[in-house]
């Protein structure tokens, strides 16, 4: 892999101090910034999900709060609208971004809640452009003899602050899947973004409820 960088973890202190001390070429240190960003924050998210002292509402609120600081939800929301982003009225697009925030928080919580007993280990990163990184991690299940699952996080650093824009489980990217769904839904509903907003709001409510047991 020509763009691979070896794993070099840095402490949180050095990560925070670097922009203050170093004058300009942040891109050189950026891969490790992306790795540290994922390493620190995903563990925080998993800690919240596995904290049994929290009530359901507290857990949801804390997870959503963390998620909104880490994830560029607006960028993802606009991406998932596909070609309808250009044709939809601006007010509808803004309403969609808000609905998507609630849906994403509920959906991410639902996805990650399955993995609270597992540990995530950063194994390296790939730089796609000066501000676009993919951080590779392994999700290790201590009770399984199977190889660890590969989970990749796409991190952008356009504004200097790392933000998460996508996540892939075993090579399957979530935002690509969401875009296909939303575009198909809009295609069947004459591009009516309001219908998609209503549908997403219903889904967010349903996802906040516990999954039915088998």
């Amino acid at each position: 892999m020509p763009f691979s960088t070896p794993l070099k973890r840095r402490t949180l202190l050095s990560m925070l101090a670097a922009p203050l001390v170093l004058p300009a070429p942040a891109a050189a240190a950026a891969p490790n910034v992306a790795e540290s960003f994922v390493d620190e924050n995903i563990h925080k998210g998993l800690e919240i999900l596995r904290d049994k002292r929290l009530s359901t509402v507290q857990r949801r609120d804390q997870f959503e709060g963390l998620l909104l600081t880490l994830v560029d939800v607006r960028r993802i929301a606009l991406f998932t609208l596909g070609q309808y982003r250009r044709s939809a009225p601006q007010d509808d697009v803004e309403a969609f971004v808000n609905a998507f925030k609630n849906y994403a928080a509920a959906a991410y919580q639902s996805y990650f809640a399955k993995y609270t007993d597992q540990t995530l280990k950063v194994i390296g990163s790939t730089q796609r452009s000066p501000t676009d990184f993919i951080v590779q991690t392994n999700l290790v299940d201590p009770g399984s003899s199977q190889p660890p699952a590969e989970v990749d996080f796409r991190v952008r650093t356009d504004t200097g602050k790392p933000v998460l824009v996508d996540v892939a489980y075993q090579g399957i990217w979530l935002s690509l899947e969401q875009r296909d769904q939303f575009v198909a839904f809009l295609g069947q509903n004459n591009g009516d973004v309001r219908k998609l907003i209503a549908h997403l709001s219903d889904l967010a409510v349903n996802l906040s409820k516990p999954a039915p047991q088998q």
Binding site: I76, D166, G171, W173, E177, Q181, L203, N206, A211
Partner: protein, 242 residues
């Protein structure tokens, strides 16, 4: 020979061929899914089969067979697939992976008591999948339009043809013995049961979180197959810009 499985596949193909559908929409063509209307109907049929037959059976399976037993069934079925995986490893020029498949077959068939246990994984030789659909892809054959097969779910012409070839080349299907149709039927039944049991929570999660379950499955299938064909390496470089 697994005539039952071959007839089943032939029946599925004939059924699909007989499906009449309206001309594909522009959106369907853009998604490389000209048979979308028929595919959606097939998915509905599969949903009914799943709801009224497969899920109750899986529930009973969970109730009657303890986890260790279900793991044994899963291992046994995986072991039966190893000769086919080995051949596909070889056809793709993946000699290292072919060696691993061979060692897994030897170790699990002997020390693993016919494949019910998986000592090979504990010895550092984890399993991997390969099939003739992937081999065709490695040889440069395109996937073709999206296709939902009755009973079997998401596919495409390349992978459906690959599945038929995998069935035909499976050495366990070449063994003729008295009433082997029961062996074929049992293997199909337990393969479907095992597959559904393994993916029960995943499918439930997709159904709960999907805006459009059909297009979600279509995208997941395509991404999953692309990952399988790459054998998980390296990370794809064709990701869109945000």
């Amino acid at each position: 020979m697994g005539r039952l499985r071959i007839w089943l596949l032939a029946g599925l193909a004939a059924g699909l061929g007989g499906c009449a559908s309206a001309p594909p929409s522009a959106a369907a063509l853009a998604a490389n899914d000209p048979w979308e209307q028929t595919n959606r109907e097939t998915l509905k049929l599969n949903g009914k089969i799943d709801r009224y037959f497969v899920i109750p059976t899986v529930g009973l399976y969970f109730l009657v067979v303890p986890e260790a037993g279900r793991r044994g069934v899963h291992n046994f079925l995986g072991n039966l697939s190893l000769p086919t995986i080995f051949v596909n490893d070889m056809l793709q020029g993946e000699l290292s992976r072919a060696g691993k498949s061979m060692w897994r077959l030897v170790i699990n068939s002997t020390l693993g008591l016919g494949g019910f246990f998986d000592p090979a994984s504990k010895a550092g030789i984890p399993g991997h999948g390969e099939d003739f659909g992937q081999t065709l892809a490695v040889w440069g054959v395109g996937e073709g339009p999206y296709l939902v097969l009755p009973f079997l779910g998401p596919s495409n012409p390349r992978d459906a043809a690959g599945l038929a070839i995998d069935v035909a080349m499976d050495p366990t299907n070449q063994i003729h013995f008295k009433q082997h149709i029961w062996w074929d039927a049992g293997r199909i039944y337990f393969t479907l049961l095992d597959l559904r049991a393994q993916n029960y929570q995943t499918i439930q999660g997709i159904q709960r979180s999907s805006v459009d379950y059909y297009s979600s499955l279509r995208n997941l299938y395509r991404q999953m197959r692309a990952e399988q064909i790459r054998n998980g390496r390296p990370i794809r470089q064709d990701l869109p810009d945000f």
